[in-house]
């Protein structure tokens, strides 16, 4: 895959895909989308980069040491958010009653734990898809 057109086009559209992915993640609680779809879109950009530039450069973009930390961190963050509910005297993963800031309906900064969880899921999904892709490529 050593094609100049592919490489240049990839470089041009990469930021747009990534920004779209971030947008979908951040607006997960307001519009269709959310952590899974946004994470998948973001991961698609890195998969595209790896396809255009080869495995070696792709892995430099998303090294395994970072992606494994992101995966672990995503779940630990999720568990941590859940324990906020217990610390506040409510069951696991309580949102409103546990004192998360609710904000105003329809704004980006609202809905308590939902955006936080969505971001954690988005990061997790992104790194998982990229790691799966890279691991399977490495095998060949």
């Amino acid at each position: 895959m050593d094609d100049l057109f592919v490489k240049v086009t990839t470089k041009m559209i990469l930021p747009f895909i990534q920004i779209y992915g971030i947008y979908v993640i951040i607006h997960g609680h307001l519009s269709p989308g959310g952590g899974f779809s946004g994470g998948a879109i973001f991961a698609a950009s890195i998969v595209l980069y790896t396809l255009a530039y080869g495995l070696h450069k792709g892995q430099k973009r998303m090294p395994h040491s970072i992606s494994s930390k992101v995966e672990t961190g995503g779940i630990l963050f999720y568990i941590g958010i859940g324990f906020v509910g217990i610390l506040a005297g409510y069951p696991f993963l309580t949102n409103k009653a546990a004192g998360f800031p609710m904000g105003e309906l329809g704004k980006v900064m609202s809905a308590g734990l939902i955006p936080m969880v969505t971001v954690a899921i988005g990061l997790k999904v992104m790194s998982t898809i990229v790691t799966l892709f890279h691991t399977m490529l490495e095998e060949d």
Binding site: H29, I75, K96, M102, L105, G106, T128, T135, E138
Partner: protein, 102 residues
């Protein structure tokens, strides 16, 4: 022969399934049993309870957030399983040690 047998069995199963459709609740009706007070609760109260306008996001990350924790764990399990099988080991220091000793 074997293929024909499978074909017949699955054909029979398909007939049974299709015949039973006529007795299922019809699709798209407002008064279906599944469109009950639980679904209405989510629609009516999600803005109040969670402050999210996307009701599906409210369900997956708040009402049923524990499911989603399980789901992220499924993803983690998937990647752990794949890495356990085909991953290049990332504990390189260990490997080097073995080479030195061996």
């Amino acid at each position: 022969m074997n293929k024909l047998f499978t074909f017949l069995v699955l054909g029979g199963l398909l007939v049974v399934l299709l015949a039973s459709i006529s007795e299922l609740p019809p699709m798209g009706e407002m008064d279906n049993p599944s469109y009950n007070e639980i679904a209405n609760y989510y629609i009516d109260n999600s803005a109040e309870d969670t402050g999210s306008t996307n009701i599906i996001a409210a369900i997956i990350t708040d009402y049923r957030a524990f499911d989603t924790l399980g789901e992220t764990t499924v993803l983690f399990t998937g990647i752990a399983a794949v890495v356990s099988l085909i991953g290049v080991t990332h504990h390189k220091d260990k490997k080097k040690e073995e080479e030195n000793h061996g």
